[in-house]
């Protein structure tokens, strides 16, 4: 049986890497005594599939993992059992059984929304800068990919961008960034502003799939049923 879970990454634990989080989950399922299925072969590993990597240091309200179980489990009890076995800050908030053959998290997620606290900037200055970015016809950046320098126009991946609330350290920026075919990272977004913006804090607020043209949580019934037309494109 397969289960998709949503969990948070808040507080000090946000300084762990994506790889660390995978390791923490492996420990947690063993400590909770949950019958996870294992891969065959020389190194037997628990069958855990994580979604898009979260940059080290960012918080998140919406991380996802798909777990395959060796036998039936009570899905409703999983969030409490796993939260107990995970470190503080990693809390499982929802769990839904998914049929075999459902697209992986990497495939199903189309965009992520981010809340970015931009350092030392007023809402007015930030607002003008956002306007500039949104009106640009293209935004070409060079980035490293598999050791090669690649030029990409990232403008199509900026789905939404607006000024958020004012805080002591700066002003909030709310962004929805595309993840297909490759995720646009908040730091890459901040790099296209002139002058470049610096984030005091970054939090992933949600990950979204598109069902019938509408944004949905990857745990939503439409996203987890096998025959749904998951992709809008």
């Amino acid at each position: 049986m397969r289960v998709r879970l949503r969990f948070t990454k808040l507080g000090k634990i946000r300084f762990t890497s994506h790889r660390d989080v995978a390791r923490l989950w492996e420990h947690a399922v063993r400590r909770a005594g949950i019958p996870v299925a294992h891969t065959e072969g020389f190194t037997r590993r628990p069958k855990l599939s994580f979604g898009l990597a979260l940059p080290t240091g960012s918080e998140s309200l919406a991380e996802y993992v798909d777990i395959e179980f060796a036998r039936e489990v009570e899905v409703d009890r999983l969030p409490a059992r796993l939260s107990e076995a995970l470190p503080q800050g990693l809390d499982v908030e929802a769990a839904v059984e998914i049929p075999r053959g459902v697209e992986s998290l990497q495939q199903v997620v189309q965009s992520c929304s981010w809340s970015i606290l931009v350092e030392s900037i007023t809402p007015a200055v930030l607002g003008a800068a956002v306007e500039q970015v949104l009106t640009a016809a293209e935004l070409v950046v060079t980035r490293e990919r598999k050791g090669k320098r690649v030029c990409d126009d990232i403008r199509p991946q900026i789905i939404d961008l607006e000024v958020g609330e004012v805080a002591d350290e700066g002003t909030g920026l709310l962004a929805e960034l595309g993840t297909q075919p490759r995720s646009l990272r908040p730091t890459e977004l901040l790099g296209v502003f002139t002058p470049m913006l610096r984030a005091a804090r970054t939090r992933r607020e949600g990950q979204w799939t598109i069902i019938d043209g509408a944004r949905q949580d990857p745990l939503a019934p439409g996203a987890t049923s096998k025959h749904a037309e998951v992709r809008a494109s």
Partner: protein
């Protein structure tokens, strides 16, 4: 300010591996501070990934936090990137649990596992906001102490550390707590008073209470400055490990560390008697943990930690009585769904041991590591690593025939009496192992890992002049030539320059303090990291202070010479060590004393202890080439106190 977290948090976004600094481990304690309790900051003077698994530190952490009078937190050396940021922001070293500033603790306690961390110790003291020299610190400031294997020759750090603890720390930490508690309660009068009181605690050495005089280059005398200060400080020894089943709550980090597994110590001490091995000498006598205690530590540790690997640790785990049973029980532990793997970090070189390894590694058999240490029987008798050629080839054949493809062989070079025949012999031996492997696999490989030998205090080789860097390089090049063209043999070696500096610190005296300070002041930290190691800083500092590397490192010592650590005791009689040194030079080996009459090394008799083993049956195949007949039925002088698995004492 009792936590620097708000100031630290923004810096963590800018440094490598920030998870090093957040704590959050399972098993960590968030202590409550109250008036009257003594606060310890346990510091491992290297990065978190290396320091976190340290068992000594975890044991003391737990014991201290269980005590009502003490609280303990941990700190690790910040990597150079964070150190620069801390200094720029004026922030101190901090604990990982509550990010409490180091200057707020009563005691800063360092674990000294290796000599090359000495400059990091100074750096941590400095980052804690204290003057690095003990004499400049006031009674308002923390006491600085250190323990671990390097504390057996603490003289190079005597100017910086207020007191050292020799031997096992389980009991002595509570005694120190109570002295410091009394000192705090009486209003922290002068530092010298508390240090004098600490010097009366068995196992505690306060270097500033001893006057060292020199005769030319040599130490002439080391005399206590007060009548009640002991002339010789003896190490502490915990008699029975069954009384100390620690750590009970292993620290499970939130990020990957070295030895990322559950570690359960199955015994302490070793009587194999390898003459180069300081650990084996200073941790005597052998004290085995009873099998039942091992079993429950494995069971509880696995279910609590979520680890799927347990290492049974000791200096020679295959020698543990009843190792078979303990291993098979650990593997079939019902709480782990049969999903656990067991590892033996110290493999003995014989087919018996490979048999156990085969049971453990049912699935993946990639590589096995053996440590013959020397390539010829003659030289192995010199170092008392009594493995005969048949043992080694038997082990290698057993391994290849049971599915392993890669062997790793550890050797030392620069050993006493070593000739070029011995050095070249390493390549021959490796090639022979590959040839054995070829009977079973098309492409077997043998990696030979060579380290330069460094003589250590309290070993029979403490009198030996270490090989020079040039000599070690010459031997490595002989070995490179000899291995060239031998298919399947790969050679790796340790940097001889790092061995030189380790050797310098290992047998140094107090005059090296100035050298260590100079190296640190010029930025020489993280010296055990090849990218930071700076031999030039050490050579310059030695010259600047008028000291000779040659005299400290490469000189053979005489029997009559007073060694800088002669006022300290690891329990071993100096004449026993000298006799062992003479026997070594005659290539005469010494059998394991667990199954022979006592040689009176001093380790048992001096403490009124005996070797404690969990089972009266000697390990099968355990002769390790000593020629002893050790089948289970052979008459072995063992008496069992009562009942099955009761600790047996060997006389």
């Amino acid at each position: 300010m009792s936590s620097i977290w708000p100031q630290l948090e923004p810096l963590l976004g800018e440094v490598q591996k920030p998870a090093r600094y957040i704590g959050c481990e399972d098993g960590a304690v968030v202590p409550e501070y109250h008036q009257g309790s003594v606060s310890w900051l346990l510091i491992y003077p290297d990065v978190y990934e290396i320091g976190l698994p340290n068992q000594g530190l975890q044991i003391l952490y737990e014991i201290l936090n269980e005590s009502v009078d003490a609280v303990a937190e941990r700190a690790y050396a910040p990597w150079v990137d964070l150190e620069a940021r801390l200094r720029a922001e004026g922030l101190p070293l901090f604990s990982v649990e509550t990010h409490r500033p180091a200057p707020l603790f009563d005691l800063l306690a360092f674990n000294l596992s290796a000599e090359l961390v000495y400059t990091n110790v100074l750096n941590c003291i400095d980052l804690a906001g204290l003057p690095v020299r003990s004499e400049e610190r006031t009674s308002e400031q923390a006491l600085v102490c250190a323990g671990g294997h390097c504390a057996f020759n603490p003289e190079p750090l005597a100017d910086f550390v207020d007191f050292f603890v020799l031997g096992d720390g389980e009991q002595v930490v509570s005694e120190i707590t109570s002295v410091v508690q009394g000192w705090k309660a009486s209003g922290r009068e002068s530092r010298i008073d508390v240090l004098r009181r600490l010097s009366l605690v068995a196992g505690v050495y306060v270097p500033s209470l001893y006057e060292v005089s020199y005769d030319g280059g040599f130490v002439e005398s080391v005399r206590p400055r007060y009548d009640d200060v002991p002339e010789v400080v003896d190490k502490r020894t915990v008699a029975n490990l069954a009384d100390w089943p620690y750590p009970k709550r292993h620290l499970v980090p939130v990020t990957e560390v070295v030895h990322d597994r559950l570690n359960v110590e199955v015994f302490r001490g070793c009587t194999r008697g390898c003459r180069f091995c300081q650990a084996g000498m200073v941790t005597r006598p052998v004290r085995e943990r009873p099998a039942e205690s091992v079993r429950s530590m494995v069971r509880d540790g696995l279910s609590r930690s979520g680890h799927h690997e347990v290492a049974l640790t000791s200096l020679s785990t295959a020698d543990y009585s009843g190792i078979h049973r303990v291993v098979s029980e650990a593997m079939s532990d019902p709480t782990t769904c049969g999903d656990v793997s067991v590892s033996l970090p110290s493999l003995r070189v014989d087919a018996f041991t490979v048999g156990i390894a085969a049971e453990i590694q049912r699935a993946r058999r990639t590589g096995l590591t053996f440590a013959p240490e020397a390539a010829t029987w003659r030289l192995r008798q010199v170092i008392n690593k009594l493995i005969q050629e048949e043992d080694l080839y038997g082990a290698v054949e057993a391994a290849y025939s049971q599915g392993w493809r890669r062997m790793k062989l550890y050797f030392l070079t620069g050993l006493p009496t070593e000739t070029d025949v011995d050095t070249r012999g390493i390549a021959d031996l490796a090639a022979n192992c590959v040839a054995i492997g070829r009977q079973y696999h098309p492409n077997p490989s043998v990696t030979v890992s060579v380290g330069g030998f460094i003589p250590k205090p309290f070993t029979p080789f403490q009198w030996f002049g270490q090989n020079t860097v040039d000599e070690l390089r010459r031997k490595i090049s002989i070995l490179r030539d000899a291995s060239r063209g031998r298919r399947g043999v790969q050679l790796k070696w340790h940097d001889p320059r790092a061995s030189l500096i380790e050797g310098l610190c290992s047998r140094g005296d107090r005059r090296l303090g100035a050298v260590i300070e100079s190296v640190w002041r010029r930025g020489g930290t993280f010296q055990e990291w090849s990218e930071h190691f700076a031999e030039g800083l050490w050579r310059d500092a030695m010259a600047e202070h008028g000291l000779s590397i040659d005299w400290y490192v490469h000189r053979h010592r005489e029997e009559t010479e007073r060694l800088p650590w002669d006022h300290l005791s690891a329990g071993l009689h100096k004449d026993f060590l000298w006799q062992e040194w003479q026997d070594a030079l005659q290539s005469v080996g010494l059998e394991d004393c667990r199954w022979t009459p006592c040689y009176d090394c001093g380790a048992c008799t001096g403490y009124g202890l005996e070797h404690i083993v969990a089972s009266a049956t000697p390990p099968a195949g355990g002769s390790q080439g000593t020629g002893q007949v050790l089948s289970p039925d052979a008459g072995v002088p063992v008496s069992i106190s009562s009942g099955y698995e009761a600790p047996a004492r060997i006389r």
